[in-house]
């Protein structure tokens, strides 16, 4: 049986890890390579690096970062942020990333998911979805693009299912409402997406206490939990999270 995964997320801006609340008010959290190596050492199952600057100038920086991370981190890691083409994905995968995540570009051109899956295999392609509860229909969530700044009319649950059909190997699901609040994952959203797809779902946004991780896995049916604030600012170590989950009967790689 596969272990449930603990995945620290490193949002990278100008070569520094940063973390905000609801995608805003960024706070510095350290050097990405150092922090990545520390999490790997501490027992993280995977890492996610998101280039939140995602400009043409930052593209080169992120490739160099991926190379440095690959020399120091011996667990799988995903890179995302502003990826638009399979050529860009190829460069990142060759530089040492295990997987790439796409978000805005996949909404604009869903075929990108299929092209990437055919070329690199489904296991390399992560569909990242930033979702916000709809004001008009409170039982639905809408997909937001461009780092969450632009809401669309796309239903997040339907988009996840479509992403699977197109060839995504995994869904990285971020609740914008919960992001950075440390008040817990959006369990309803996580469960709705998990029930709609057969591929692994990574719950993201809102982790603040150990029981939040348990809720996302058991009530939200997530295969993996992603967190930033609670690890970067050292509220909890990866090992503490795993021991807690193991103690409550969740299979983890301890």
């Amino acid at each position: 049986m596969l272990a449930k995964r603990i995945i620290p997320c490193l949002d990278v801006k100008d070569n520094r890890v940063v973390k905000g609340i609801h995608f805003l008010n960024l706070r510095d959290a350290g050097d990405p390579v150092e922090l990545g190596a520390r999490y790997s050492e501490d027992g993280a199952d995977e890492l996610v690096f998101l280039d939140i600057t995602a400009t043409i100038r930052s593209r080169k920086t992120i490739v160099e970062l991926v190379e440095k991370v690959a020399e120091n981190v011996f667990i799988p890691f995903t890179v995302g942020g502003g990826i638009q083409t399979v050529e860009q994905m190829d460069e990142l995968l060759r530089s040492g990333a295990e997987k790439v995540s796409v978000n805005t570009a996949a909404v604009q051109n869903p075929n990108l998911i299929t092209e990437a899956a055919r070329r690199f295999g489904n296991q390399c392609v992560v569909l990242a979805i930033d979702a916000r509860r709809s004001k008009a229909k409170p039982d639905k969530w809408q997909v937001c693009v461009k780092a969450g700044s632009e809401p669309t009319d796309i239903d997040a649950v339907e988009w996840a299912a479509e992403g699977e059909r197109l060839g995504a190997g995994e869904i990285l699901l971020t609740s914008m409402d919960a992001d950075g609040t440390k008040a817990g994952y959006d369990i309803e959203l996580t469960k709705a997406v998990s029930d709609a797809v057969n591929i692994p779902v990574i719950a993201s946004g809102g982790a603040g206490k150990l029981e939040h991780l348990y809720e996302a896995i058991v009530d939200g049916r997530a295969d993996a939990v992603l967190m930033a604030s609670i690890t970067h600012f050292e509220n909890y170590t990866i090992n503490q999270m795993k021991e807690y989950l193991a103690g409550r009967g969740i299979p983890v790689n301890l």
Partner: protein, 203 residues
């Protein structure tokens, strides 16, 4: 010196990075001279089986020849699958035939690809796992698996709804379906053990 076979597949660089990190002298090469002079060979691979076999090209014969002289060889992921006779991934392809068995799809009752950390039961008599205890998690990412048919091969299994072969050892031929280069401390220990096997200082 270990030689990591260089043949334009995904994880070649990660495998070199991991060996260098643990202080091993590795060379990335596909030159017959280097392959013959190496203390041990590593055959990585992230690709479809047929693509990998084609990319390997004439180096396959040299690897087979050198492996038969007793030089340690470690296959990883698709490199592991290529140790066997054949595969049915996108057509029929022949492997190196160093271990008897065939590479077949993971049954569809399971989620495919088999991707993530799974626990491997580690037989005491498999040298790659020396010092690792009786069970450890390793990182897997694959859609086909090797159905081992060689009664001379020792096999370590992981549970994925059935006993899935995670590693084999047959004399000087070693292989892991999982990625030791991405399996954190336990994975690095497997690579260190292989390096020691190559140096003749058994782990």
């Amino acid at each position: 010196m270990l030689v990591v076979i260089d043949y334009n597949v995904g994880n070649v660089k990660s495998v070199c990075n991991a060996f260098r990190y643990i202080g091993c002298d590795v060379k990335l090469s596909c030159e017959p001279g280097d392959i013959e002079d190496a203390a041990g060979l590593v055959l990585p691979g992230v690709a479809a089986f047929g693509y990998a076999v084609n990319a390997l090209g004439t180096a396959a014969e040299i690897i087979k020849k050198v492996a038969r002289t007793g030089k340690p060889l470690l296959g990883i992921c698709v490199g592991f699958q290529m140790l066997f006779d054949k595969s049915s991934e996108y057509g029929r392809h022949n492997g190196l035939g160093l271990v008897s068995g065939s590479v077949v799809p993971i049954p569809t009752e399971q989620t495919v690809p088999h991707m993530g950390w799974n626990q491997v039961k580690l037989p005491k008599d498999m040298d790659l796992f020396a010092g690792l205890g009786s069970e450890k998690h390793f990182y897997f990412a694959h859609s086909f698996y090797a159905d081992v048919a060689d009664n001379k091969a020792k096999v370590a299994f992981t549970d994925y709804g059935f006993d899935l072969p995670a590693s084999v050892q047959k004399a000087n031929i070693y292989g892991t379906q999982f990625h030791p280069e991405k399996s954190s401390k336990a994975g690095l220990k497997v690579l260190r053990n292989f390096a020691q096997i190559c140096e003749g200082t058994n782990p």
